[in-house]
């Protein structure tokens, strides 16, 4: 045992430089470095950027997109795509809204039903993709439209307000963690929900069988099937998981707005995909990290927020975000080419 320990220390000493230069790690530093650069840039560019309230606001605006991204990364690692997560998120929140406000279901049960609704939508997508062999793009485009329509039907095209259930709002906006005099500084719960979901996603992806099969399927689906893995079952599970994350995002979103907005949702899937990609995950499948995705989500919201604080018009914010996305992927591609 003593020998092993010495060996490890030696590796750690000589290995630090190696670890930094390791291409797999460079990616993490690249995204993380970009985030730091952005933070420094906006701090210098605007006096309103680096304030407690603004940082909290950035983090809060990361939550919904971040949770969606944490779900869709599982699907992207299989080499697939889920376009429905934006509207599934909305559908889940509408479902929870109807349950809690009109059906009078207890809040906790309503939340669970909302999340299960998301998981069920993912289950449908997953089944269609893995058993009926439809292309993920088409299958989930269909589910996207279906859930968008169903949200409008279910809500009667009107927002559902949670005014009768004041506790609901506290899920995202309320805060358990307060500090400073008389709780002057408070951190909204939504941020902790996001971080908690990130830990869950990380554990699932890196420590469980589902995570193992997830990478194997993305790396070579047919070889995985021929290894005796029930690929259809696991793919369905992966899409369901993605849907469940969309369900959680739906609850966080509804709590933040104190209402379920049936017309919202479409377009969120693209922001989530952008977060995953900026975080260094390849759309081809077989690779991806949770940490990268979290950083990717933060980069997008930091960029949006920073530009807003600087007074850049909203239409230009979109243009710049698009440029950053292309730049991030370009850098990643160049890095990979360099390795070969």
């Amino acid at each position: 045992m003593a020998n092993v320990a010495t060996k490890n220390t030696v590796q750690a000493d000589g290995g630090l430089k190696k670890a930094i230069l390791n291409p797999a790690n460079i990616q993490k530093f690249l995204a993380f470095g970009a985030l730091i650069v952005l933070l420094i840039f906006f701090t210098i560019a605007s006096p309103f950027f680096l304030t407690f309230d603004n940082i909290v606001s950035i983090m809060l605006s990361t939550c919904v997109n971040g949770i969606l991204a944490l779900g869709i990364i599982f699907v992207i690692i299989t080499g697939g795509i889920d376009l429905s997560i934006g509207t599934v998120m909305t559908f889940s929140s509408v479902m929870a809204g109807v349950m809690i406000t009109t059906m009078g279901v207890p809040m906790w049960l309503g939340i669970i039903i909302g999340i299960l609704t998301g998981a069920f939508c993912g289950f449908i997508s997953g089944t269609v993709v893995s058993r009926l062999k439809l292309q993920p793009f088409i299958a989930t485009l269909g589910v996207m439209m279906i859930t968008k329509g169903l949200s409008l039907v279910l809500s009667g095209t009107k927002p559902i307000y949670f005014s009768d259930v004041p506790a609901f709002r506290q899920i995202t906006v309320g805060s358990i963690v307060k500090f400073g005099a008389e709780g002057k500084y408070s951190i909204p719960n939504g941020i902790f929900i996001f971080l908690f979901m990130a830990v869950i996603a990380g554990v699932i992806l890196n420590k469980t069988k589902l995570g193992r099969y997830n990478f194997a399927i993305g790396s070579n689906e047919e070889a995985t099937r021929l290894s005796g893995v029930n690929v259809a079952k696991w793919k369905t599970a992966i899409y369901s998981l993605c849907g469940a994350f969309a369900g959680v995002a739906g609850i966080v979103m509804a709590a933040r707005l104190d209402s379920a907005q049936p017309a919202l949702g479409q377009g969120y899937e693209l922001d989530a995909i952008a977060s995953v990609v900026i975080g260094g995950t390849s759309m081809v499948g077989g690779e991806g990290t949770i940490l990268g995705t979290v950083i990717g989500a933060f980069i997008i919201s930091t960029l949006t927020n920073g530009l807003k604080v600087m007074g850049v018009a909203q239409e230009w914010q979109i243009v710049i975000t698009g440029l950053v996305l292309v730049l991030a992927v370009l850098l990643d591609t160049l890095r990979k080419r360099g390795n070969k």
Binding site: F215, A223, R225
Partner: protein, 500 residues
């Protein structure tokens, strides 16, 4: 003495961390077929990539038709008349033969706007006629046989008025009769004065078709010999630089009382017709036949990879239902595909991830958490047991050589405790040295009591490894031979026994 067409001298090339070519030389005469042989990684491909402009060289001279040249791209090489037909064909299946041949040089006429397909078809037809090839230039390439696709590639190369044609393993995907066609074509090209570089692992072909042989080993030039003055064993020894495992069939132990697997009346469309056979514990059952005889289809059906129409599968006397691969794996069947990269491995993943893929359950607790440190330990054991050459279990499989990749697939099924192992062309694309190791491993596994099916298109391999040989033709079993009575001639007789 024919004219010297090409001389490469003192070619040196390094990649980061690898000295790929160490002052190599090579020469080619007009109208000769010159074999370039060596184990995988010997530097054959690198040398040819330098010739055809894929890579630049660090040092050395390339003299073509008496003049020193320096090609900086494939297009430039093509225009000089130096073309390569790759092992993996680079054709677009949805385009026609003619469109493929003239891709990038379409006939556009004066206006430079519209593509003139008629002109391309005419040119292609003229070339096919000159090659004595019956092929419609308007045929979609995806609909052609692999052999025909290869002819299209050759025609494409010739359309550049090529003087030098490099063929990289041209026969891997061809049937016997298609190989004959290819060789006829090569002979016609020879007569026209084209110099052909022929890269192959198949010694019998090299003996048959080439004039001279250049041997390379570990990035260095070994020797050039006249084909007719040499024998295969001598070439192999030069390639390997060591004596290799080359004994006759040695395992006679077969416990014929214990049937491991029995297949009864298996049928599937036109591909499998009434196939029945028994596989015993401790035996290697060879499956021989021509390409497309239905051997792979039978194995895929047994393994549950493809559906079949009717038939029964019995394992150790018990009837079993296998609808999907996971059912087969549960019953202890492991299948090693001929196409490791597509069907056997998750290339971008590590050795240990590949080895543990079928049996994650063993290392996963009830909550679904996988114990990775145990997997690493077990993987190390198997790396040692099968002497897989890898820096460690965390190495990505795509960085291993073909032979070691094959061993990873074997390790995968051994760890899963499979008693029935189906090897589909176990030594395809594996160099000579590694081949003998795979053979050793197969014999050893049979001795340990595994039941092994080995599909192989190489007759010497079947004869050397098997206890019994089943020969298939057009989806049917046409012969079953005990190793004592088997010979190449006998096998070929059954392999071509078509239905009247």
């Amino acid at each position: 003495m024919k004219d010297t067409l090409l001389v490469m001298e003192g070619i040196d090339k390094s990649f980061p961390g690898v000295h790929a070519l160490d002052h190599c030389k090579f020469d080619l005469r007009a109208g000769e077929v010159h074999a370039l042989v060596g184990e995988n990684g010997a530097g054959k491909s690198t040398l040819m990539k330098i010739l055809t402009g894929v890579y630049g060289k660090d040092e050395g001279k390339v003299i073509y038709k008496g003049k020193e040249i320096s090609v900086s791209g494939t297009k430039e090489a093509q225009e000089l008349g130096i073309c390569i037909v790759h092992q993996e064909l680079n054709l677009m299946p949805h385009l026609t033969a003619a469109q493929n041949m003239f891709i990038g040089r379409e006939f556009t006429g004066k206006n430079k706007l519209f593509v003139n397909d008629n002109e391309a078809n005419k040119k292609a037809q003229a070339l096919f006629d000159a090659m004595n090839l019956k092929l419609d230039p308007k045929a979609k390439v995806g609909k052609l046989t692999v052999a025909m696709q290869q002819m299209v590639e050759i025609a494409k190369a010739l359309s550049f008025d090529s003087q030098i044609l490099v063929m990289d393993e041209p026969t891997t995907a061809l049937t016997e009769s298609e190989i004959d066609e290819l060789f006829k074509m090569i002979n016609r090209l020879k007569e026209k004065g084209v110099g052909i570089v022929y890269i192959s692992h198949r010694m019998d072909e090299i003996k048959r078709i080439t004039d001279r042989i250049t041997v390379m080993r570990d990035g260095t030039y070994v020797d050039t010999v006249n084909t007719k003055d040499t024998d295969i064993q001598q070439v192999i020894n030069m390639m390997v630089g060591r004596t290799i495992y080359e004994t006759a069939n040695e395992h006679n132990y077969t416990d014929l009382n214990q049937v491991a697997l029995e297949v009864k009346h298996l049928n599937s469309g036109k591909k499998i017709k009434d196939v029945s056979f028994k596989l015993h514990k401790g035996e290697i059952l060879g499956f021989s036949g021509l390409m497309g005889a239905g051997r792979t289809e039978v194995m895929r059906a047994i393994f549950g990879a493809d559906k079949y129409d009717s038939g029964e599968i019995l394992i150790k006397g018990q009837k079993v239902t296998i609808l999907r691969p996971e059912h087969a794996v549960k019953h202890g069947i492991g299948y090693l595909s001929e196409d490791r990269k597509r069907y056997g491995l998750t290339l971008g993943e590590t050795v240990e991830q590949n080895i543990s893929l079928p049996c994650i359950d063993k290392y996963t607790n009830k909550l679904g958490f996988t114990n990775y440190s145990t997997i690493t330990g077990t993987s190390k054991e198997y790396i040692e047991k099968l002497s897989i050459k890898t820096p460690g279990p965390k190495q990505k499989v795509k960085n291993l050589s073909g032979g070691n990749q094959q061993k990873v697939v074997i390790a995968k099924w051994l760890l899963r405790d499979c008693d029935i192992l189906i090897f589909d062309e176990p030594t395809k694309g594996i160099d000579v040295g590694a081949k003998s190791e795979i053979y050793k491993l197969l014999s050893q596994l049979a001795k340990e009591g595994k039941a092994i099916i080995m599909i192989s298109s190489e007759l010497p391999e079947v004869l050397r490894m098997s206890n019994r040989i089943i020969v298939m033709c057009e989806g049917r079993i046409t012969g079953e031979l005990d190793i004592k009575d088997a010979s190449q001639e006998e096998i070929i007789k059954y392999a071509t026994k078509r239905e009247a």
